[in-house]
Amino acid sequence: MRREGSPFRGLSTVFVKELADHLSSIRMLMLELLIVFTALAALYGAISSLRQNTAEDPFLLLRLFTIDKAPLPSFVAILGFLIPLMAIGLGFDAINSEHNRRTLSRILAQPIYRDALLMGKFLAALATIGISLAALWLLVIGLGLIFLGVPPGGEEIARSLVFLVVAIFYAGVWLSLAMLLSIVFRSPATAALVSLGIWLFLAVLWPMLAPALAQAIAPADPRYALLGLNDPATAIWTQELLRLSPNDLFGEAMLAVLSPTTRTLGPVFLDQLRGAVMGSPLPFGESVMIAWPQTVGLIAGTIVLFAFGYVLFQRQEVRA
């Protein structure tokens, strides 16, 4: 039985209302302050170490994103850690708070479909994150101009824009997950705890567990160990397992795009490198091609998790 009428009716209204709510909320302010201050600390480290050896790096601006100065991690690494926190913060109470405030049935009694409510909330949160990341991106470029005094080239801007887009999709994965959990769990506290648990697991524990699992699945051949080499089978398994985590996908994509000398993200044999001019940067298009599978993975993760949430929300009872 087909239903009549557009599923997008009311989408823009929900979007505008939710966006206004996010932008004016104290929660958002706190998350932004957290990200801006940690990012500034990382940038300060990067700038101070860059000023000491500005020699002849053609991608000075990109170095701002990737260089780290102990004990601070690089700007990109910090974002890889904090973007999920921001996305979870905006998504964990998307649907269950409407239930708990008893506004859900009143809103759904207006002439809109549930699609518009869910989609509007998702897009509004994503737009909020997009706005914050864009502001952060401008901040980096501005600071780069002021402290390094070198105007960025077109390719640098293009590469950093790719960073922005991939970061938004990376946020999308976590936002979809948080919203899915906000549909599954009626209590926002439970939804927040579970999403934060998944985030900590994937960001902190999984990088330690994946190599151990890979060892168990494909034990290293002792002959490689005798030669002091890694078993390629184990290395490939480790990498494949790591890639189950969106954090790893984001890290790999950023490595390919922001470090132009990156030629591959997987293990390579020496004969594959024959003829390569080591240390020379790849053209922009080639770097994007290297990052493409990871980006697609992030987009697919966003869509799959959103679709799960969509199906559950359509079937959910509206009464409290």
Binding site: M1, G5, R9, D21, P111, Y113, R319, A320
Partner: protein, 328 residues
Amino acid sequence: MRNQSTDSRGTAPDPVIAARGLTRRYGATAVVDGIDFDIARGEVFGLLGPNGAGKTTTILMMLGLTEISSGEVSVLGFNPAREPLKVKQRVGYLPDAVGFYDHLTAAENLAYTAKLMGLARAERARRIEAALARVGLAEVASKRVATFSRGMRQRLGLAEIIVKRAEIAILDEPTSGLDPQATQEFLGLIGELKAEGITVLLSSHMLDQVQRICDRVALFQGGRIVLMGAVPELAVKVLGAGFVVEVEADGLGIARRLAMIPGVIQVDTLGVDRFRMTAERDVRPDAARAVVTVGGDLRRLSIDEPSLEAIYARHFQIRPRGDVRHAA
């Protein structure tokens, strides 16, 4: 006040809502079990029954907010399962314990739903102002809803229905949790809606309040409608009589004398000089005459409208149901 439709089976001319065999099952349990009813334009129809009897589920099916397992319902000629947007454009719904966005003001809350209704900006502002004035919230229009009492929230919910200019207003437990004064005010507002020709469907478990404003009622029990019709008809059907007259008088053999009045079914002696008569019609003039005839002093003569509560109690007392379901 009384509606033209007095058929106790509930068929009405020009029905705005018509349900046939409407059923909602969760697994093996039927929460709403094959109910039929018609609601005529402009009437106030009450869905009554204990919590969990299937009232809210019936309402949600009418709005297309929950699936219909079998049977069908048509609202203003539309099928809510297929054309929910058309139904929801014309029907206003005030949910049980309605909620609002606490950080927004009353006017902002209404503006959000008015936008979802698709009203243009100027029209929106005009309707919201008028609706808030009508429910008596004009002074607090720019206050945050967080400070509102339960009664004010209910009235704000009603204002939303007024903004929508709904043809049908569906109110789920509109007076539960309200203090007596707020209840009176709210029932008055419902009366105003009726006067404008809006069809009102309300669910409640507060029988006495509903009795005052409903043209017809449907009593729910375990997902079925067990009784339907206007309250006086139901009284005749269930209690066997529509009127209860109490007489306070002394005099010899009054009880016997009262029992002889035509139309009187039963006379109970409540005290030395107090009697309760159950009758098919208003027998007060005859009772007064009877007291005077025996030379007694008539001190009080009062009539009770048949009470829905009595009907309800009597109905389930006479026909106790063995298979009372525990509906979700």
